[in-house]
């Protein structure tokens, strides 16, 4: 009698626990159904659309998101550099290349998993937009992501820990069309990491790549 009760309990807890946990796992992940990956960047172009897959629909309602429409724009998130290592706030990166054709774009950095915007050590937002970014003559750009101020286009961050970088293109043909998969996205080149202590000067940058 007790044995029967125990096996029933095992079955039920496995079913309910396993079912709930697997849904949570899929929805919390950056990849998965409905994701489009270009290099280090991932976008959910169909998120919020009426014909989206069930996972995208569940994501929308769970997070209370009112997603950007196709005439508005599309957001690309990167959590890894071009060599596949996780982005970290204490490391320096160069985001280099060309953004998909768009009226304008914005670029910002945040601590992964935090609900608030990243800031520099002086309290400025860790954010740039295409109107404030200097471009080279061939229309490419290079933005340096670092905690200490850099010459050129600088995306300042502060603190330590895992980082996510979000590039959003607005009023873009790629957001509306099927050529999204062929959009060219900038590369995220690692430039090495500073020591863990926040007052490390630029001279101590360890160059482990390039």
């Amino acid at each position: 009698m007790l044995k029967t009760a125990l096996t029933v309990l095992l079955t039920l807890s496995l079913a309910i626990g396993g079912g709930a946990a697997s849904v949570w796992y899929v929805l919390a992940g950056q990849s998965g159904t409905g994701a489009l990956t270009i290099g280090s960047w991932t976008a959910f172009p169909k998120i919020g659309a009426p014909d989206a897959d069930p996972y995208s629909k569940a994501r929308v309602s769970r997070e209370g998101v009112l997603a950007l429409g196709s005439a508005e724009g599309v957001a690309f998130t990167a959590v890894e550099d071009s060599t596949g290592r996780p982005l970290r706030l204490e490391c320096n990166y160069r985001i280099e290349g060309i953004a998909p054709p768009a009226r304008f774009w914005t670029l910002f950095a945040e601590r992964r998993g935090s609900a608030s915007m990243g800031v520099t050590e002086t309290g400025r937002l860790s954010a740039l937009n295409s109107q404030g970014v200097v471009r080279r003559s061939d229309n490419t750009f290079a933005v340096t992501v670092a905690r200490s101020a850099m010459s050129g286009n600088w995306l300042g961050v502060s603190g330590a820990g895992p980082m996510a970088v979000v590039l959003t293109v607005y009023d873009s043909t790629v957001a509306a069309g099927a050529d999204l998969a062929e959009a060219s996205m900038p590369e995220i080149v690692p430039l090495g990491c500073e020591q863990a202590s926040p007052d490390t000067s630029k001279d101590e940058v360890v160059s482990d790549a390039r």
């Binding site: 095992l10 929308v60 998101v65 957001a75 914005t106 954010a127």
Partner: protein
């Protein structure tokens, strides 16, 4: 005994699959945190209110785009057609119409609007038929969005590339009118 445990585990796994699918399809209708519920907590229907910055305007990243401001207005087409309009110009605006579940049904930006002016009418196909029969004069330049829905949400977003434009954009967005009109 072992056979019985194996049987239980197998049943549990199959059950987990079923539970996974059930939760997945129930989530959109059951979530207490969806956009509609949160907006309902901060403003009445037809009241234009700031669409909270913590609500991931740009997607599942977690943080909203810091260069953007947004306002939302909940409507119910049972009250008549919904007219969203505002005179004047900002560097960039875009608007989206969502159904109650937060699905994006239609979006546009200032370039697709007449003369860059925000003048938008949301109506059901039935109301569209009536509107064609007897057009309202004040809506002659409006963009008509036909949506087979009852309740819904309109969100208007504005781009403020620098600190000095932030004030202009927020003034513009907060003065948007969102009204129900009966013909």
């Amino acid at each position: 005994m072992r056979a019985r445990l194996l049987h239980a585990a197998l049943l549990g796994l199959i059950g987990a699959g079923i539970v996974h699918i059930v939760i997945l399809f129930l989530l959109p209708d059951m979530s207490p945190r969806d956009a509609w519920s949160r907006l309902a907590g901060q403003a009445d229907t037809y009241q234009v209110s700031t669409y909270a910055a913590d609500s991931a305007i740009s997607g599942p990243a977690g943080v909203a785009d810091p260069f953007f401001q947004a306002v939302a207005c909940r409507f119910d087409l049972a009250d008549g057609v919904t007219h969203v309009h505002r005179e004047g110009r900002v560097p960039y605006w875009s608007a989206s119409v969502y159904d109650r579940g937060g699905r994006n049904l239609y979006s546009l930006n200032d370039r697709s609007a007449t003369d860059g002016q925000l003048d938008l009418v949301v109506l059901t196909p039935d109301q569209m038929v009536d509107m064609r029969k007897s057009p309202l004069e004040e809506l002659e330049n409006a963009i008509f969005v036909e949506a087979p829905i009852g309740e819904g949400i309109v969100v208007i977003r504005g781009f403020a590339p620098d600190g000095s434009s932030a004030r202009t954009v927020s003034d513009y967005l907060n003065a948007i009118e969102c009204v129900a009109q009966t013909s």
